[in-house]
Structures are given as structure tokens and as C-alpha cells.
Symmetry: C2
Subunit: 150 residues, 2 copies
């Protein structure tokens, strides 16, 4: 047998977080399939919420996505008849985004599935651990927002 002495290297935090993140994303993807949207598309829909006429820049901030990604996800949502884009009158560079009734239904259904996700996570960690995990993720995220700028 080959030399296996190093095959149990502890994974880095980045690698470990990636692995777990993708499992959560897959869980959501499977449950959202019936509404013909993806987890990231839902994130954008929930970012829009009940605000009508937001411009893409504001939606990008709310969904914590960059502008090219936001453009492409909004294009998909438009293709699915979930949002409508209208060129701004005051500023013709921008586009105002309006969501359809169907989008509101899908967003609400998706929000319930996000609750299901939370409950499923709570099957293996405590509520205190859940809150701590969320807090640590946010703290690290903010720290690296700064670090990555340098």
C-alpha cells in the first residue's frame, strides 16, 4: 500500500467552510426546485422583499453580491417572469426593479424553506451554537472585508 502518512491533514477553515456551505446550498436547491429557482436567486428575491422600484445597485448590496452577479441573476429572474426591469427616468443609467405577484409567492415559499433549513441545522447543533456560528461567520466576514481590501 502507498504511503498514507499525510492523508489526514486537518482541512483549512476555507476548505471546511466550502464543503459545508455547498451541502447547505444543495439542501436548499433540492427544496426550491419545485419553484424553479435556485438558492442564490432566492437570496436576491428576499433581498428585494416588498420594496418596489429598487435599483440594481441597492439589490446587490442587500443580497451581498457583486454587480455582475446581480445583473445575471436578475436577468434569470426576469426570464422566469419574477421581476420586471424599467429604465430609470431621473437617471437613465439605472434600472428600477419591480417584482411580480408570482415572485412574492415564490419568495414567501422560499422563506419558509429557509426556516426549514434552520430547523434541520438545529437537529445537530443547539440554538446557542447556531447563534454563535452565525455571529462568528459575520465577524470573520467583516474582518476579511477589510483584510481583502489591502
Amino acid at each position: 500500500m502507498t504511503n498514507n502518512s499525510r492523508h489526514d491533514l486537518p482541512p483549512s477553515m476555507g476548505s471546511a467552510m466550502g464543503v459545508t456551505y455547498r451541502k447547505l446550498a444543495m439542501y436548499m436547491q433540492h427544496h426550491l426546485k419545485q419553484y424553479d429557482i435556485t438558492p442564490e436567486q432566492l437570496t436576491v428575491l428576499l433581498g428585494i422583499g416588498d420594496s418596489e422600484g429598487l435599483i440594481q445597485k441597492e439589490i446587490a448590496q442587500r443580497a451581498r453580491k457583486d454587480h455582475p452577479t446581480t445583473t445575471r441573476i436578475l436577468d434569470q429572474l426576469e426570464g422566469k417572469g419574477l421581476i420586471r426591469k424599467q429604465q430609470g427616468e431621473r437617471d437613465r443609467r439605472s434600472f428600477l426593479v419591480f417584482s411580480t405577484d408570482k415572485a412574492k409567492e415564490v419568495a414567501e415559499a422560499g422563506r419558509l424553506h429557509e426556516e426549514d433549513l434552520k430547523n434541520e441545522i438545529l437537529e445537530c447543533i443547539s440554538a446557542e451554537e447556531y447563534d454563535m456560528l452565525m455571529e462568528l461567520l459575520n465577524r470573520i466576514g467583516e474582518h476579511f472585508s477589510e483584510v481583502n481590501k489591502e
Copy 2:
């Protein structure tokens, strides 16, 4: 001003983890750029470690990646002269993977950058929190490995 009443919805765990994961990945990507490898390519290189002649299936398990992704990342590493593939003699369906001296240097340099990543994370959370975060990620990951099968 439009109705902003819902724009502060707490993000789901999936969304929050994705945002933070991508920031850690970006940090690694910037630091690994000088070696012309990506964080995920490093994960595969470190999975190989000092084991010569592993088959792709074993590498996929160690790197916690699926087979198509492993194939494509190994192809990239081969193109960069970091690994060499050799068809198995005993089982001609499989390919044995051998890493070059250059790969060993790059992997060791990358490993040091993963330590830097850990130290950078420890700038904003305690060592106890770091260990707990890793443990929670692994526990959730294992739980959803089961859940996603159903």
C-alpha cells in the same frame, strides 16, 4: 423613498456561510496567485500530500470533491506541470497520480499560507471560538451528508 421595511431580513445560514466562505477563498486566491494555483487546486495538492500513485477516486475522497470536479482540477494541475497521470496496469480504468518536485514546493508554500489564513482569522475570533467553529462546520456537514441523501 420606497418601502424599506423588509430590507434587513436576517440572512439564512446558507447565505451567510456562502458570503464568508467566498471571502476566505478570495484571501487564499490572492496569496496563491504567485504560485499560479487556486485555493481548490491547493486543496487537491494537499490531499495528495506525499502519497504517490493514488488513484483519482482516493484523491477525490481526500479533497472532499466529487469525481468530475477532481478530474477537471487534476487536468489543470497536469497542465501546470504539477502532477502526472499514468494509466493503471492492474486496473486500466484508473489513473495513478504522481506529483512533481515543483508540486511539493508549491504545496508546502500553500500550506504556510493556510496557516497565515488561520492566524488572520484568529485576529478576530479566539482560539476556542476557532475550534468550535471548525467543529460546528464539520458536525453540520456530516448531518447534511445524511439529510441530502434522503
